[in-house]
């Protein structure tokens, strides 16, 4: 068996330690450091969003709230999690992170990026380059850039644009902010490790990370934070109605918009065994809790076409916490990853205390937000074959704005051409019906035909008959029909050797 691990998320420090026993000490608080200060979060407080906790309880008002839905980045903070290399800090939207997700982390806010009375080089650059106008988005930009700098993302125009897609600014037109990043350059001056020596924090985390963690409000509400899969499945079996939370990029938004957070929760953030991405026998095996950042890193070289789609999936802050499993179970017909997974015939592993079963993704979804997951079952693994070298693959995400937007239309086209003929065809469309759908009639039409523009044009007309789009805030039904019609021709033209593109 060929195996290769991807290092987007380094294994956690404690990973080598054998499974904890049920006899591990019980802990009833989340252990969180904020700007170097130790906090124990208990009871119903654990249900607060990080941003509410920062602003309302700690008066750290530098973290700003604009949208409460992870779409503007004004609330960006850094979350440091222990890894073998020390604390690794990633930018997250604090408005859609709950405290209970953050056990054994160090949170750094805008108030904590420099010594009191001093400025970090990024802060200074933002002043010097006129990177702030009204100033409301500024702390978020500083935090995201600090995170980029911590992770050595490189401060050049393209990396800055990529890294800052999750931060909206209405005043500057961004140019001055990019200039600020460029002026800092790649020479690392400030490291959070210098400001917050990691050793004492890591030691404290190591002491506590194997505790059996249950955050209860003392009455009827509780959050279980299992550390092993077996325990997670047992929690679920005990309480099949409990909501599973991992990245919270969806439930976080819904709670901010008025939904009551369910009483019973199972948090998967300590469940490292589901966080890995591995290449096994030519297939990517993705733990359901692997973040999009990890998945993106794995696909960078393996399937650049999918990587390109993942690049415009949410924003870095979202990809750092959002998981593939969450995306699949959220079951939205506009989920960006789904068309690809459909044409690749991805297999989903569903686990429960009674065993495991595997379902092909094409059979998993049954209707709008309806899918084949039984009570007590947890999505644990996604196995995705890689395209063959001879496959032509085209993935399309059409949205109003290129980045950080929800799709108006998605498509995946995979054709295998033998000679001049189409030997195999797999086509999936999203946002044109209640679920992502395979265009079976179109596929059947294509197989055996010459790969020509006329063929693809005809196929487009057939595809139009297979989709059932509606008009909504992201576009009219006519628009979606026209995109369905055109996308196959676009795929053909893109695959011509003389295609002319900017």
């Amino acid at each position: 068996m060929k195996k290769r691990s991807f290092s987007a998320v380094p294994p956690t420090a404690g990973q080598t330690i054998s499974l904890a026993k049920q006899s591990e000490p019980m802990r009833d608080y989340a252990l969180i450091y904020i700007n170097g200060i130790r906090r124990e979060i208990r009871g119903s407080e654990a249900r607060l969003s990080l941003s509410d906790f920062l602003r309302r309880r700690l008066a750290l008002i530098g973290t700003k709230i604009v949208c409460s839905e992870g779409d503007c980045g004004a609330c960006t903070v850094l979350v440091g999690r222990p890894t073998e290399q020390g604390l690794r800090y990633l930018a997250v939207d604090s408005c859609i992170q709950f405290l209970f997700q953050l056990d054994c982390t160090h949170i750094v806010t805008i108030e904590g990026v420099a010594k009191s009375g001093e400025l970090s080089s990024i802060q200074q650059a933002m002043i010097d380059c006129n990177g702030s106008q009204c100033g409301f988005c500024t702390p978020g930009f500083v935090m995201t850039m600090t995170g980029m700098s911590e992770n050595d993302c490189g401060m050049h125009t393209e990396s800055l644009k990529y890294g800052l897609t999750g931060n909206l600014c209405r005043c500057t037109g961004y140019t001055a902010i990019i200039e600020a990043g460029l002026s800092v350059g790649n020479e690392q001056q400030d490291r959070l490790a210098e400001l917050y020596p990691p050793a004492p924090l890591l030691a404290d985390f190591a002491k506590h990370e194997h505790d059996d963690l249950v955050l209860s409000d003392g009455q009827h509400r509780s959050i279980r934070c299992p550390q092993q899969l077996a325990m997670a499945l047992q929690c679920l079996a005990d309480n099949p109605q409990a909501m599973i939370v991992s990245g919270a990029t969806d439930i976080g938004v819904r709670v901010n918009k008025g939904l009551q957070l369910p009483d019973q929760l199972i948090d998967l953030n300590r469940l490292d065994e589901l966080a890995h991405v591995e290449l096994v026998d030519g297939k990517l095996v993705i733990g359901a809790r692997a973040s999009w950042t990890a998945v993106e890193a794995a696909y960078r070289d393996l399937v650049p076409e999918f990587h390109r789609v993942l690049n415009v999936f949410g924003a870095p802050q979202i990809r750092n916490v959002g998981t593939m499993g969450g995306n699949l179970i959220n079951a939205s017909p506009i989920a960006d990853s789904l068309p690809f997974l459909h044409v690749m015939e991805a297999e989903l592993e569903l686990s429960s205390t009674t065993g495991k079963r595997t379902v092909n993704i094409n059979n998993f979804y049954q209707g709008y937000k309806k899918f084949d997951l039984q009570p007590g079952e947890l999505l644990t693994k996604i196995t995705v074959p890689l395209p063959e070298a001879t496959d032509l693959l085209g993935l399309y995400k059409i949205s109003r704005r290129k980045d950080l937007d929800i799709s108006s239309f998605t498509a995946a086209i995979k054709l295998r051409i033998e000679g001049s003929k189409i030997a195999q065809a797999a086509i999936a469309f999203g946002a044109v019906g209640p679920i992502v759908l395979r265009a079976r009639a179109t596929e059947t039409f294509l197989v055996g035909r010459e790969f020509t523009e006329d063929t693809m044009r005809e196929a487009g007309e057939i595809a139009v008959g297979e989709v059932t789009p509606i008009g909504d805030v992201r576009g009219s039904a006519d628009y979606r029909w026209q995109l369905t019609r055109n996308i196959l021709v676009k795929f053909f033209l893109e695959n011509q050797p003389d295609a002319v593109l900017v």
Binding site: I61, T63, C134, C169, L501
Partner: protein
């Protein structure tokens, strides 16, 4: 010490911004007992308000009060131009979300629970939701407005060529990041202090007094800063401020209102959507002989600022082009939507967009490059330089700006390259356009063109300045700081511009119309000069030296490098701070109030003629776009901007205004879409569904140059206003998109509307393609 004017000092709050220490409304510390205030709005767009039941809400622990129009009394209606804006709905509801009940609670959780528990019963009436429907049903706000000159009918009839059509431009959400917010603190003698995120503290003071039944002397409004405004807080910061003030008055406790983004977007006004019927006659050279535009704006449910917005549309319908015969009329449509309001450009963009569309259509019709058409029509320097309303376009640099920008942007070479590309690429099509702007600076409402400033000097020579200008990120504070520092020849760090307060500056105009530095800066300079005159007299006596025969002579007193001296004995230099201390001991007043009123402007609304503007800010932009022929996705490849902003007080700040305004304009012309359902509910009410430009949307190549120009001598420091004009330079992006589509099918008129979203572009391309031979499809 060199003068600070002309230097790129950082924004005065930049160190606070980058450390998170800059306080916005919701960052103000809560005082004991402070209440969280929210509201519940109308569930429907139009109807009779039957009942409001908040009994259950009041029963929730922590809920302190619920208030409706009945609790407000006779002062529930206000308005800047026409008093038709209810604070709380009374009798009828006018739009979805219109505030009906104000709720006050001790915690945000209790407030949220209370809002859910309130029941509002209405009897629905048919709603008017679109401009077309308002036109059909003849529902307009206010009278028709008109500006005209020459013989339009005759010249249209006689023209070699004629085109006509209907053009629509969409609304735009301001999308300031700090939503509407206010905190009110009750005081003695019925006083209320309101901290508001407002461009218009005097208006907040006035409406709070009016609605609460107080004298204006009992209300103080303070605005330290706004987290963006863009016009959206010129009139519409009022309702949240009144809510907070009402609760403070009723309960005697401080009260805080912070709209969340969704509520803010759903219930506050935006840039007016426009529908325009246009008709143009022109000759073979592309020169316009006559135009007629009939503007219809979507005003929303109340008047708000709509008449002034429409006025500016009419005054900018010519954009920067000479139309010998022109008739512009404007009607404001009543609709059951939140009242539309100010947004950067204030009607100017909507007027100018129509003309840029017309010129692009003319070029396409004649098979000319649109730059030639624009150059054939641009205002002249000696002749063809009078606007349809009769103002001379004085000191006009537009022809030069067009020529220079065409050169520096390599317009012609790129045109050739694009044409070659478009012949070859089956997947993409590129377009290029150069458009100009000429934006009139001054409020068109004459009385608003005034400003006052308070300058106080302390005995160490440091200075506090207060003006009516509010800081929303545009950098007015640092510019005023520079002007003041230079008056006394002291270091700018010795000057602080204070929070805007109606206690210090009275009867101020909103921070709007791009004119805040002009008006308030000029007033500050006048105040400084008054103090300087006193200091000169004092210094002359102080430095007089009977032994050396130096007779006191104020004309010889110089302020330089933080010191004061007599230029006949320049080695005796008194530090400025020392002089101030000495002056005080000699009972010299070190404070002054300056007042400025813009001279020489006037406009007659009835005749549509006059000189409404003090001067024009001018410029041009070239944009190049690439569009996916099969999906309609568009990218801006390059933008080149050239703008005349006179002698910049702070080039770093102004650069930020220009680029920021341009990108905001790009949002308006490309991706920003307000989508309503048939019940009048806004569906695009958060950044998930409403897409302002992100960092990846900015042009890959982006050049900005300032046009050197020192001839605007009648304005403060020979500068020119910069706030709004750059937004309209983004019309180049829209025109480039329209130009690109002409390569799909140059023969059929393309009816591209604004914004040019991917969906809109695909719609037009699909239509154009269906009119060509199948071989050319794609």
């Amino acid at each position: 010490m060199p003068p600070s004017v002309g230097r790129s000092l950082p924004h005065d709050a930049a160190p606070s911004h980058v450390t998170g220490r800059a306080l916005f409304i919701d960052d103000l510390p809560q005082v004991a007992g402070e209440l969280h205030v929210g509201f519940v709005g109308s569930p429907i767009a139009s109807g009779k308000l039957l009942s409001v039941d908040y009994k259950q809400a009041l029963a929730i622990p922590g809920v302190v009060g619920c208030y409706t129009a009945a609790d407000v009394g006779g002062h529930n209606i206000f308005g800047l131009i026409v008093a038709d804006d209810p604070f709380l709905a009374e009798g009828e509801v006018l739009y979805v979300g219109q505030p009906v009940v104000v709720v006050a609670a001790e915690t945000p959780e209790a407030l949220a629970q209370a809002r859910r528990a309130i029941k509002i019963e209405c009897e629905a009436k048919p709603a008017i939701l679109t401009i077309e429907q308002a036109i059909r049903e003849n529902r307009f706000l206010g009278p028709i407005r008109r500006i005209a000159r020459g013989k339009v009918d005759e010249n249209l009839a006689a023209a070699q060529h004629r085109l006509s059509g209907t053009f629509t431009s969409g609304g735009q959400e301001q999308f300031y990041l700090e939503s509407q917010a206010a905190v009110a603190y009750p005081g003695e003698q019925g006083q209320i202090v309101v901290h508001s995120s407002t461009q218009n503290p005097t208006e907040i003071q006035a409406v709070v007094a009016e609605v609460l039944g107080l004298g204006q002397h009992q209300v103080v409004c303070i605005c330290k800063r706004m987290g963006g405004a863009f016009g959206g807080k010129e009139s519409q910061a009022s309702i949240p401020a009144i809510m907070a003030a009402l609760v403070a008055q009723k309960t005697g406790r401080s009260a805080r209102v912070i709209y969340n983004k969704d509520d803010d977007m759903c219930v506050t006004g935006k840039r007016h959507e426009y529908l325009t019927r246009w008709e143009v006659g022109f000759n073979d050279a592309g020169q316009v002989l006559a135009v007629r535009y009939e503007f219809f704006s979507n005003g929303g449910a109340t008047t708000d600022l709509s008449p002034s917005v429409m006025e500016r549309s009419l005054l900018h319908a010519d954009n920067c082009y000479y139309f010998p015969n022109a008739e512009f009329t404007g009607k404001i449509c009543f609709t059951n939507l939140p009242s539309n309001t100010a947004f950067r450009g204030f009607g100017g963009p909507q007027g100018m967009a129509v003309t840029e569309n017309v010129l692009e259509s003319i070029a396409q019709y004649l098979g000319m490059d649109s730059l030639e058409v624009r150059q054939a029509n641009v205002y002249g320097v000696e002749s063809r330089n009078v606007t349809p309303y009769g103002q001379v376009v004085d000191k006009n640099h537009l022809p030069e700006i067009f020529t220079k920008l065409a050169e520096t942007s390599a317009y012609k070479a790129r045109r050739t390259e694009i044409e070659e590309f478009n012949l070859k690429s089956r997947l993409q099509v590129r377009g290029l356009a150069l458009t100009g702007i000429k934006f009139g600076i001054s409020f068109t409402t004459k009385f608003l063109n005034q400003g006052n400033a308070l300058v106080n000097i302390y005995t160490d020579g440091t200075v506090q300045v207060s003006t009516g200008a509010t800081e929303m990120g545009q950098g007015v504070n640092v510019k005023i700081k520079q002007l003041v520092a230079d008056e006394f020849a002291i270091d700018p760090s010795c000057v602080i511009v204070m929070a805007t307060s109606t206690e210090k500056n009275i009867n101020t105009s909103p921070t709007a119309a791009s004119a805040s530095t002009d008006l308030n800066g000029a007033a500050a300079v006048i105040a400084c000069q008054e103090i300087k005159a006193r200091l000169r007299n004092f210094a002359a006596e102080h430095l007089a030296d009977s032994e050396s025969g130096l007779v006191a002579s104020p004309e010889h007193i110089c302020f330089e490098d933080g010191h004061v001296y007599d230029d006949r004995q320049s080695r005796v230099r008194v530090p400025f701070g020392q002089l101030c201390d000495d002056a005080r001991r000699d009972r010299v007043d070190l404070g002054a109030r300056g007042f400025f009123a813009t001279p020489g402007i006037d406009f007659n609304r009835e005749t549509g003629r006059g000189t409404p503007f003090f001067y024009f800010t001018q410029g041009a932009a070239v944009a190049e776009v690439v569009i996916d022929r099969l999906t309609g996705e568009m990218r801006v490849l390059r933008s080149d901007l050239l703008i005349d902003i006179g002698e910049s007080i702070n080039p770093g700040i102004d650069r930020g205004q220009i680029i920021g305004g341009y990108i905001q304009g790009m949002g308006w012309v490309t991706n920003e879409c307000l989508v309503y359902n048939d019940r009048g509910e806004l569906l695009s009410h958060s950044p998930t569904t409403y897409k302002i430009p992100a960092i990846t949307d900015i042009p890959a190549v982006f050049n900005l140059d300032l046009f050197p120009n020192a001839d605007n001598t009648h304005n403060v420091a020979s500068s020119k206003a910069v706030g709004e004009p750059p937004l309209m330079m983004a019309l180049a992006v829209w025109a480039a998109a329209k130009n690109a589509l002409s390569y799909i099918n140059g023969k059929a008129e393309n009816d591209l509307m604004l914004p040019a979203t991917g969906e809109e572009l695909l719609r037009v391309m699909t239509t154009l393609t269906s009119k060509t031979e199948p071989a050319n499809v794609g």
